[in-house]
Symmetry: C3
Subunit: 266 residues, 3 copies
């Protein structure tokens, strides 16, 4: 099942519009190439609408935001949705400023992304804000990741991923726990952004199977973190590890993904 | 002949003003250092004029453009030309939006770059626009790369490079086909940007020999892609390949370039 | 002494607000993770104040500046200082345009950074400007690095680092010469930015020991340049070297730093 998602991506070679950030733009572009898709990196409001119209999917990443970039993200997001193209939203650091928090809420309410991926803190920020605006008691969000993800999925209609020691994936009905990945991935900047980009590429090539595309991206990226870790020599640190993760995505096959994916329905 | 271009670059250590993009800025800077030149990375309108005045050459790259960046590119380009410094223009994604297309045409008409490097689609966009504005039939541009390159070279007076399976280089009179390079280079983001930066560095150190500088850059970068490919281990993917290409530029000698360059006059 | 600085950083895992530049943002983020701290990369005026309030230290880097970025640097810097958090200022290319020169002076006069790190030319620019504004004879700055560093430290109250073949560190009273490092580090873009980020991480975790934190950062980064150099294979160039330097920071222990640091009081 997951292997087909990957193989379909390699066959279709979807064009993915990546609006990411200045820290991880290069890694995300190489990641997208590694998995068999093609990236277009464009950031500005001036061309957001036209670029997304030429693409098969869109990644909206909230890292290093500016007011103009947020406008571009909103315009690109709404355009993609109006054209039926999958939109994945990564609320990087959503809780670190009012500016990001507000931008994240605008993104959810105006764009209605198909997929949202963040860590527990980021997803909690999204949920709290959404709830607060709806007058719901914030206490309900002091929950474990699966509850958080389910709550946000129900509110937004999106497939929600929470990354952590164990990842959680749910569309509000079906839910998965994913046990791929390695703790050392935390020592590489932008692994979250990269996972979102991989999910975006898979979704762009498998629009009829969003939930499975997301699951494939979460399992696949974690698996590549494991494979890359096995490859480390005694002198290799987080910089070499960063390269090996992308290398592993480059070599990942459908068969290896089927065998290596470790998830369970819950 | 080509070896001397490289050696002169190492001897002169030219200062190259690189206005590139947020995806490939780091790779381009390391590439410029690898070939024996020194990069100054500056993007803003506020300092475009002064920075270029301190440099020996200028790279104008259209990736991740904004209106303000385009103004900065135009100002830096015109300043460099007025000071007789070589300007190379890389019309990244020229066809992906009206904004880029218009910016590319402004660049050509207002700056008159000495060198233009792109893929066939980008060069076709430049040529179509230019022709359209001059009322010429667009049919003439449905041609093979060599014809495209010649047509743009004649229109603009620039040395034109079209990158592809076989690269084409021409100043409108003399033309070369270059058979260096490796298909895997397409799986690394920004290899086009890096080739433009290498050409820019060579041109900045060899202003009297622009055509040969361009040919050396095209052959040299392709050759480094071949050398880097030979070095790949079974687990290495596009991320390691990216490093090995820059490593190969770092070690490339004039002698190796002379031996490894595969081009023919046509 | 220096080993404790490093170990305290690993224990405390400080959050470092890094306002760097589009060329080296990724390397700086991975460097900060490598040394045991956590980076927040944020650039925009809109969130500068809030982000820095959540952090333990601040890196202000003048690379690829725009007027808006300079405003953000000033606001973040003043906020950090008002909260007693260490601020390190890296005047990248301070002399390459009036815009940068003026921005650098504003940074020094309005923010009063705790630490300033640059090469001799950048520090000379800061000192000349400062002196000129105070009507002092510019002749005094045609001196060797130690005199330059002492003069700027006295004028500003900051701990000043001048990077070069031999690095100099001084708070105006005590001064050190550091003999760590390797000439090949010059062929990697952003090694200066990375050294500043390492110093910033150490300072954020050791606010009571600023001078020793700076010394540890200068020795530690140079030592990692040496260790990375020893690891180079015959085909490795500046791109692999770049990875190995960050890898070495990842593996650097307090004990190794104590043993490998080569400095003398002067």
């Amino acid at each position: 099942m997951l292997g087909e998602i990957l193989e379909q991506t390699q066959r279709k070679n979807p064009l993915l519009h990546c609006m990411v950030n200045l820290v991880t733009a290069n890694d995300c572009a190489n990641l997208v190439l590694a998995c068999g898709a093609s990236p277009i990196m464009a950031e500005d409001l001036e061309e957001a609408e036209q670029v997304v119209s030429a693409c098969d999917g869109l990644v909206l990443n909230l890292g290093t935001p500016s007011p103009r970039k947020v406008q571009a993200l909103l315009l690109a997001g709404k355009t993609a949705k109006s054209q039926g193209k999958p939109v994945i939203f990564d609320p990087v650091g959503a809780g670190c400023s009012d500016f990001r928090r507000n931008a994240a809420h605008e993104m959810i309410e105006q764009v209605r992304p198909d997929i949202i991926r963040g860590n527990a803190s980021e997803i909690r920020t999204l949920l709290l804000g959404t709830l607060a605006r709806r007058g719901v008691d914030a206490d309900v969000v002091a929950e474990e990741p699966l509850e958080l993800a389910r709550a946000l999925a129900e509110k937004t209609g999106a497939v929600v991923v929470i990354s952590g020691d164990v990842d959680v994936v749910t569309d509000g009905k079906t839910a998965y726990r994913v046990r791929n990945g390695h703790p050392m991935m935390r020592s590489v900047t932008g692994t979250g952004c990269q996972m979102s980009a991989l999910i975006g590429a898979y979704a762009a090539a498998n629009t009829e199977k969003l939930l499975h595309s997301v699951l494939a991206g979460v399992c696949g990226f974690g698996l590549c973190g494991e494979l890359a870790y096995q490859r480390l020599s005694v002198l290799d640190g987080n910089a070499s590890y960063r390269n090996y993760i992308i290398d592993a995505v480059y070599h990942l096959t459908g068969e290896a993904l089927e065998k290596g994916a470790r998830y369970e329905i819950c």
